[in-house]
């Protein structure tokens, strides 16, 4: 589950999910909300790999991969099969070509969080828009 938090100039994304993989899935869903909907068309699949020293930075790196695909391939993600490893994420991302507005410039490390919460996981990430 994700929600957008009020922030004067940027967009702050707050996620609560039962598993770490679900946090990454929710981040994709939130980003898809920003850049969607896809145009009608054939499904496109991308393999995405990213590395980072900790889970919070890995979540940022995951979103950065999606931003890169939106900006260079006009790719609007729809769903992903996500595998997490120590310091890495590997995913098969399905989506379609769209007309993604260039709303997100980057993923910041400001107030970046990825931590256990109530038997699940909580994450927070501020996007520069």
């Amino acid at each position: 589950m994700y929600r957008w938090v009020e922030h004067t100039a940027e967009l702050e994304l707050a996620i609560e999910a039962p598993t770490q993989e679900a946090v990454f899935e929710d981040a994709l869903a939130a980003y898809a909300e920003l850049v969607g909907p896809p145009l009608d068309g054939q499904q496109v699949v991308h393999s995405v790999e990213a590395e980072a020293p900790d889970r919070a930075a890995l979540l940022a790196a995951w979103l950065e991969e999606l931003i890169f695909l939106a900006e260079t391939e006009a790719f609007v993600p729809e769903r992903a099969e996500i595998a997490l490893y120590p310091g890495a994420v590997s995913a098969r991302v399905e989506g379609r070509r769209g007309d993604p507005p260039h709303v997100v410039k980057a993923v910041t490390y400001h107030d970046l969080e990825f931590s256990p919460a109530g038997g699940g996981w909580r994450a927070r990430v501020v996007l520069d828009v």
Partner: protein
Amino acid sequence: MSEQLRRIDETLWEIPASSRADMRVPARVFADVELLEAIRGDQSLEQLMNVATLPGIVEAALAMPDIHQGYGFPVGGLAAMELPDGVVSPGGVGYDINCGVRLLALPLAEPELGGRREALVHELSRRIPAGTGRGGPLDLGPAELDAVLRDGPRALPGVSPGDVERTESEGRLSGADPAAVSERARQRGHSQLGTLGSGNHFLEVQRVAEIFDPAAAEAFGLAQGQVTILVHSGSRGLGHQVCTDYVRLMDASHARYGIQLPDRQLACAPASSPEGRQYLAAMAAAANFAWANRQAIADGVRDAIRRVLGSDVGAATRQVYDVAHNVAKIERHGGRDVLVHRKGATRAFPAGSEEIPAEYRAVGQPVFIPGSMGTASFVLAGEPGSMERSFGTTCHGAGRRLSRTAAKRQIGGAELRRQLEAGGIVVRCPSNKGLAEEAPFAYKDVDRVVDVVQRAGLARRVARLVPLGVVKG
């Protein structure tokens, strides 16, 4: 916070370095009572105090009256670092490296534009791609992109020497190294030259509504009633990626340099370190790309003018100046070289500075302060107080007051469009939602911001510009 904040003079407040154990210098903000109240409504001052903890910071972490909460550094903040070992922080420049403003002056007054205004705005929206990562008029090959990264606008065909001369740093920061720019940044940027981008980027057709300083206005080539076009854009995806790459690199280097930070987004490294030097080389390249981007946009603007108003008008459209408001530069202040980070702040060198074009040297460097969409913008000139009090710096805009969500809650894009058009402003925007996010009431009062920097002696008003039409990114 209130007990820590003390008033220094009419327009300057200070949070002493003793307020927090990790602050190395005080945090100072230029404001008036009303603006300060708004500033205290978000985390701006806490973020400014965080900046005051950075290794090598000189004198104070400073903020302009348009300060608002950002990430890491506040927007509207500046910090000067001692050299060679003070830090450089990519977040202190921001993701949109060399976001900035260029002003073009047309050789005609508003009545002469007359009924062709809507056609001009429409043609501008056709010529200048806005919104997403849509490609621009130029798709650069690797060698062409290298040339732009090294040399900025000079690398583009047919650029007039006058445009280059009337650009901050003549559109080229030294030390730019294309090899320091990642392949991913190049992929994001190679087709984006000449594009506006989204968010708060825009093109505005304006009228000079008021002249405050006739001598400076004349030097800048501005007259009452004259039509101007203001361009607000930056380094697009290329700059965003450069910042992303180096925040990550520096985040991983803190242990090596013994750096501890209150906010991870303040990631930094000594300017003299391999990471610091590499970032400065990449940032300079991205800054040069941004100047080339605004040059390519200006070329598109002149094309639109030629088509709608005639080739003579296009040829006589003169660039007043181009200023950066997200950049880090080595400058001499107080008898020593320092690395000045400006994030949402504008260089404002006074009369006599050799860094500004000879034709403006008697009046001071032009500074452009875009107001929010649909409200007034200002042309200022740098004043000596900027060198004494703010490392040669003034404000950059109105500064956000409301979040984008809050703005959209208060007005729909269609209604805002109707209101702007009812006020006589022609609007072209790819998205009603994006339009609502930039509603004028989401920003602080630009008149008040400019009043503070004038009273503080950082810059003075030269002219006030009001919108006739806007193309929003």
